[in-house]
Symmetry: C2
Subunit: 332 residues, 2 copies
């Protein structure tokens, strides 16, 4: 028997008592795929620290980075609520106890899937503490339920990429039918969050209930082109396809300097530019990390000139989803 | 130098005087991809025989299989009209002369792209006679113009698969942006044409101008799933994706026994079942030629019991498009 194998067995024989999990921010819609596409980024993201304790139940002991906006109430905080929901489903909520620390490391209400990142980190953490009884596919409905609690509706297009990593297609949210799509290797994004307030609820309410069929046809031609472009690693096709004729015209109104930022990004070589989720974060998609950096800086400078503070993130697509960044064991 | 090579060179030094071209029927929409997807089948299809003559101009000398429905007028017949249009564009309409025989080998007004097959065969034939000055991509606008003449609008979703073969995505009809998609190797279809009259114009007029965004989202989730399914050769994903929630409910009204045929096809193992183009032809998609044969026969029997005559075609996807089936040369 090899030493590494022995070490693994030894670790398995110990009880996992503490775990720290990172889950990534996500860019929902991927410009043209409203409610069905999304991808994860390497940064920003949220961290959840979870500790097994003797007293049964789920408690939030600390929240950092939220500027006091999130609840410590177990039933109201999305992380604790969906962890509790999972324990209930497994029938161990009366015997298993955890304390949770939530480290928000990304803006709330940004359009970057902030609640999805926290929820996914929390559920991945509890599943890890329990010895991974559930697959990611089985965790998905619990994540969606957490989103419903945070935003009023369950946005699978944020939780799916945060949970599975990569670029995800939600063929059907009703049946949790999620397909991981290929990630062209040079794909990099510049994400910029202008510090203005656009609540998800308002952004969704602006959208009209009915659309022209001819516009829908344009949109699904673009969506189909985007999927084909991902499989072919065809950046020209991706650029031609990532155009949103339906949602962007409405939502862009809420985002200051949107069209100026778009023109800037495209002039600097972005394949496409659009709104991340419901905004106000925006995203430039490129086939070059260096170009993404230049675009992020240029947009930040443009916003600064307009007296708008912003945060910028340059990233490849995160293909992993949540990950354990620290674990503590108790020897039996 | 090899003999085969020498033979080729010899043929090149002769003038092509006659050509007979087959172009395939097509299934537009591929169930859920209204106006953007379509595929070609091996049968049925149309044949155009074209003969170079000394007298300049384009003449139709014979049309067979059309039950007297098509015009011999050069400007009104789609085949001659678009051949003439091509010669004009090349600036040789005053010097080049051809006689055309059109052999309709498929029903007109069937939803199988009858006019597209004729148009594509005609344009491929004249291009071949001229020594292939145009690529298929360059021929596409002329084919679309022919469709416009035949149906009132230019349906790229029939002409693109007829011209390029395979499964085609029309990302944008305005810019003729056509992408050939992969064809999973076991894909076979049963196409059944019930002999009832559903003119394309009427079928399109039934469709509403506006649709619910939530239905459009369902549709483009399915379209995206279909594209991914083709790249992955994932027949289960194809089956889950090939559902049309927007157009079928309206158009199915015009097709007698539609839902009975659908239930029959699915119960016999079809991955999906729907309307071919604007109907009344219907299509069952399978991953097995034998299943497709069983379905075609069962539907035909069902229609016969309802006293509806029908034609059935079982086919793999035709990946070639138009082809020269006979050519005559004149030695220089």
């Amino acid at each position: 028997m090899e030493a590494s194998n022995l070490k693994e067995r030894l670790e398995e024989s110990r009880i996992l008592t503490e775990v720290r999990v990172f889950a990534p921010a996500t860019v929902a819609n991927m410009i043209c795929g409203y409610d069905i596409l999304g991808f994860a980024v390497n940064e920003p993201g949220d961290e959840v620290f979870m500790k097994r304790v003797a007293t049964p139940g789920v408690r939030i002991t600390e929240i950092t980075g939220d500027e006091g906006r999130l609840s410590y109430d177990t039933d109201k905080n999305t992380v604790s609520a969906c962890v509790l929901s999972l324990l209930e489903k497994l029938g161990i909520d009366k015997e298993f106890g955890v304390e949770i620390t939530l480290h928000k490391q990304m803006p709330i209400g940004s359009g970057l899937g902030s609640s999805a990142a926290s929820t996914v980190a929390g559920l991945f953490a509890i599943n890890t503490l329990l010895g991974n009884p559930l697959t990611k596919q089985e965790l998905l409905p619990f994540c969606v339920e957490g989103e419903r609690l945070a935003c009023g509706t369950g946005h699978v297009d944020n939780v799916a990429p945060a949970l599975f990593g990569g670029i995800t297609l939600i063929r059907s949210a009703d049946t949790f039918d999620v397909i991981k799509l290929p990630v062209p290797k040079d794909l990099h994004v510049a994400v910029v969050f202008p510090k203005v307030d656009v609540p998800t609820r308002d952004a969704r309410q602006l959208i009209k209930e009915k659309v022209y069929l001819k516009d829908a046809v344009t949109q699904w031609g673009n969506i189909a082109g985007l999927i084909a472009g991902l499989y072919e690693s065809d950046y020209s096709l991706l650029a031609r396809s990532m155009n949103d004729v339906l949602i962007e015209p409405t939502r862009a109104i809420l985002i200051p300097e949107f069209y100026e930022m778009k023109e800037l990004a495209l002039s600097l070589g972005a394949l496409s530019f659009g709104i991340s989720g419901s905004g106000p974060a925006v995203v430039a998609v490129t086939n070059d990390a260096a170009i993404a950096k230049v675009i992020a800086a240029a947009i930040a400078a443009h916003l600064a000139a307009a007296e708008i503070e912003s945060f910028q993130y340059v990233s490849a697509v995160n293909n992993e989803g949540p990950k354990v960044i620290h674990a503590s064991y108790e020897t039996i």
